[in-house]
Point group: C2
Chain length 427, copies 2
C-alpha cells in the first residue's frame, strides 16, 4: 500500500476522486441522469445562495479594477442560473457513451472480442473566470462516468465553492459518490502544479482559457493533457470564388462573434480575384468595424489598411482585427496556413471542385471547411449536444469534444478455455 | 519564419520529417504499398550488407560482455531478414486507415460533416536492442502516412544504419520522400532529450522497451507520449472455476512465453476453491519450472513456495516466477487488481455468469478476459494484422495498437454558403 501520510490536500483530493471514479464507472445511465436532474433542481432552488456568493466575487473583482468584460463573464444572474440548469437537463437527453461497443468480432479461435467505451477516470479541468464552466464540466464528466477535479480561477472562488457544494449535496441525495465532483483545494499556483504532477491519480488535464494558461499546462504537466482552443483560423478566397458569397462568409467568420476561438483571424486572397474581391471585402469589413492588417497588395486597395508585420499572421486577435494577404496560388495559400495556423479551422471559398478537394486533403487542421463560415466548428453545431472544449491537438481527440471524447476503451474478451499454446489465431 | 540557424541535428531531422509527412499524408494506398514491397525487395537483395553491419554490432556486444539473451535479440540471420521482409509485405494487405470516414452526417442546416482519419504526422519511436523493430515500425508508419524518427539503442547502431539506408534508397526509387524514414542522429542521451522536447515538430513519441526507458520518456517529454507495455497481469481463479481449465489457463498464461508483457505475473485464488485448486496448480507450476511467491495460505500447500513480500505483488517478473495469494471474495480480487495491477490484462476463470459480468465491468484494464489465457492480448491475436505496441494508458489508444491507432482525425465540412448568423443549427 502506498504511504499517504504527509500528502498534500490536492493529492488527497485526487485519491478521493479516484475512489469515486471507480464507483461512478459502473453506474447506469438512469442513475447518472437522475443525478443530473437533481443537480439542476438544486441549482434552481438554491439560486439565492449562488447569487450571494457570486456578488462577493463580483464586488472583489470591481474593487480590484478588473476589466468590465471579465466582470461580465464572472457575473451570474437568475436567468444565467436557469440557463446553467437547463444545460444540465439537456445532457440527460444525450446517449451515455459508456458501454458503447466501438468494434467487435468473433476471432478465428472462437474468442469473442469487444472494444467498449469506459470512462477516462479522473478528469482535471483548469479554467478561467466563468462560473458556468464549473457546472457544465461537472455535468459532462458525470454523464460520462468520470470524477472531476475543478480548478477555477481565484476570482470566482466564492461562486465556484457554492456551486460545487450544491452539486455535491445533490449527488449525496442520489446515492452517488460526492467526491465525483470536487474543487481543487487551495487558491495558489502550487495547487495547479501539484495537479499537473499527479500522474497515476489524474488521467487527463483539460486546460480551458487563454494561450498562456494552456501553454503553461502543456509544458509543465506529467499528467496527459488535451490542448484546447487557440484558433488562428483562416479564410481563403480562391480564384474561383463567388465574390458575394466570399464577402458574406468572411464577415460572418470574422465579425459575427470576434471573441471566440473559431472566428477568422486571417484572410488569404488569390491574386486573380483580388481586384474583384478586395475592394468590396475591405468596405464590408470597415462597415463591420474590423481593422485590416494587410500586406502591400491589400494596402493598395484602401488607405485604412494597417501594414501587417510578420507577427500579425501568427496572431489570434480575438478582436475586431484581421490579417490579410494576397497569395499567388492555392498552393501558396496552403503553405501559408501550414506555416502560421494553429490548425483549428480553415475555410476555402470556391466554386472549383478541384480546389476544394486539394484544400480539404492538404490542409491539416481540426476542421477544414468548404463554402461556409469558420464559426461552425463547435460541438453544438456539429450535433454533439454538448462540448467540453475544442481540442487543438492530434492525440486522443481533435476538434470539438463531446461525451465520447471523455472516454477511453477497454477490450473484453470472452472465451471457453482458449490457450495460446493450442488456439493461437495469430499468423 | 522560424530562425533555424544553430539548431541541433535532431531538430533539423524533425523539421525534415515534418516536410516529408506533409507529402506522405496525401499519397495513395497504392503508392505506399508499392514502396513497402520495394523496401521488402531491397532488404532481401541487400541481406549481405545488413548481416555485415549486424556482425559488427554483435561483436561489439560480445566484447562488452552483454547478456546472451540480449545478444540473441540483437542478432540477425538470413532467415530473420526474410521474416522482416515478409512482415512488410503483410502490411500491404492491410486496409489503409487514412481517409476512413469515422462518422458523418448532414447537419440540419445542410452542412455535410465527415470525420476522417489522417496521419498523426511525425512519430518518434524510442526502442531497445532488436533491429527488427526498426523495419516493423517504419513499415507501419509508412502505411499509415506518418514520417518516423527512429531512435534505436547504440548497441544496434550499425544494423539500424544499414536498414534505414536501404529503406531510404527504396523510398527514393519509388518517388516517396526519403525523410519519411530517419534515424535520430547522435548516439548520446542528449538526442533522446531533444526528441522529447521537440513539441510542435514531433506529434507523438512511442517508447518501446523496459519499464525504466518508458518511465523516463513519460516523465521527461513535452511531446505527447503513448505509454506502452509494462504488464503486471493477473489470473483470478473464481470460486466457481472449472479446476482443470483453471490449471491449464494459468500454465499457459504464465509459462507459454514468460518474457512477454501479456504473461501472467500474479494468480489470485478464491478461498472456497483454494483447497481444490492450489495443490494441482502448484504441482503444475513446479513442473513448468515456475517459482511461486505466495502468501501464508498459498505456502501452506507446498514447501516450495517462497514467501511473498508486498513488492512481489507489484512486480512484472518477465521470468518463470509468479506471485500468488488467496482472496476472500470476488470483490477482494478486484480490489487487489486495482491496487497492484499495471492495468494491462487480467483474466477471470469462472463458470458463473454473474462473476464474469462483475469482473469485466469493474476491472479497468486494457484487456479483461473471461476463461482464456492472458496471452491473447496482442494485435496479431486480435486480428489487427500488425502491432506497433500495446498501450498501457487511457488517452488516444489502449491495448494493442494497429494502424488506426497511428492516425488522428479531422473534420471536413462542406456547405453552400452557410453563415452562423443565418444558418446556426445549435440549440
Amino acid at each position: 500500500m502506498v504511504d499517504v501520510a504527509g500528502e498534500s490536500e490536492v493529492i488527497q483530493a485526487a485519491r478521493r476522486a479516484r475512489e469515486a471514479a471507480a464507483d461512478l464507472a459502473v453506474r447506469t445511465r438512469g442513475e447518472k441522469d437522475r443525478a443530473l436532474h437533481a443537480i439542476a433542481d438544486a441549482l434552481a432552488a438554491d439560486a439565492p445562495r449562488i447569487l450571494e456568493a457570486n456578488a462577493e466575487d463580483v464586488a472583489r473583482a470591481r474593487e480590484a479594477g478588473t476589466d468590465s468584460g471579465i466582470v461580465d463573464r464572472l457575473t451570474l444572474t437568475a436567468d444565467r442560473i436557469t440557463a446553467i440548469a437547463e444545460a444540465l437537463r439537456k445532457v440527460t437527453t444525450l446517449a451515455d457513451p459508456v458501454g458503447e461497443v466501438v468494434r467487435g468480432s468473433t476471432l478465428p479461435n472462437g474468442l469473442e472480442l469487444r472494444q467498449v467505451r469506459v470512462p477516462l477516470g479522473v478528469v482535471g479541468i483548469i479554467y478561467e473566470a466563468r462560473p458556468n464552466v464549473t457546472v457544465d464540466a461537472a455535468g459532462l464528466c458525470l454523464k460520462s462516468g468520470n470524477a472531476v477535479l475543478l480548478r477555477g480561477s481565484s476570482s470566482a472562488r466564492a461562486s465556484n465553492a457554492a456551486l460545487v457544494e450544491i452539486m455535491r449535496e445533490a449527488l449525496a441525495g442520489c446515492g452517488l459518490p460526492v467526491d465525483a465532483i470536487q474543487l481543487v483545494p487551495g487558491d495558489t499556483h502550487d495547487s495547479v502544479k501539484e495537479l499537473m504532477q499527479a500522474r497515476g491519480l489524474v488521467d487527463v488535464l483539460i486546460p480551458r482559457g487563454g494561450a498562456a494558461l494552456i501553454s503553461s499546462v502543456v509544458t509543465g504537466s506529467t499528467v496527459p493533457v488535451i490542448e484546447t482552443g487557440v484558433g488562428n483560423c483562416h479564410v481563403y478566397v480562391d480564384a474561383d470564388a463567388d465574390v458575394d458569397l466570399a464577402v458574406e462568409l468572411l464577415i460572418d467568420s470574422k465579425a459575427q462573434r470576434p471573441s471566440v476561438c473559431n472566428a477568422a483571424e486571417t484572410v488569404l486572397v488569390h491574386r486573380d480575384i483580388a481586384e474583384a474581391f478586395l475592394p468590396r471585402a475591405l468596405a464590408a469589413l470597415a462597415a463591420a468595424g474590423v481593422t485590416v492588417h494587410g500586406d502591400e497588395q491589400v494596402s493598395g486597395y484602401s488607405a485604412d489598411v494597417v501594414p501587417a508585420t510578420e507577427a500579425d499572421y501568427y496572431k489570434e486577435y480575438v478582436s475586431l482585427d484581421i490579417a490579410a494577404a494576397v497569395v499567388d496560388s492555392l498552393d501558396a495559400a496552403i503553405a501559408h496556413i501550414r506555416e502560421y495556423s494553429t490548425n483549428h479551422t480553415e475555410s476555402i471559398i470556391t466554386r472549383s471542385q478541384a480546389a476544394a478537394r486539394t484544400f480539404t486533403a492538404r490542409v491539416d487542421s481540426a476542421a477544414v471547411i468548404v463554402n461556409a463560415s469558420t464559426r461552425f466548428t463547435d460541438g453544438g453545431e456539429f450535433g454533439f449536444g454538448a462540448e467540453i472544449g475544442i481540442s487543438n491537438q492530434k492525440l486522443h481527440a481533435r476538434g470539438p469534444m463531446g461525451l465520447p471524447e471523455l472516454t477511453s476503451t477497454k477490450y473484453i474478451v470472452v472465451g471457453d478455455g482458449q490457450t495460446k499454446a493450442r488456439h493461437s489465431s495469430a499468423l
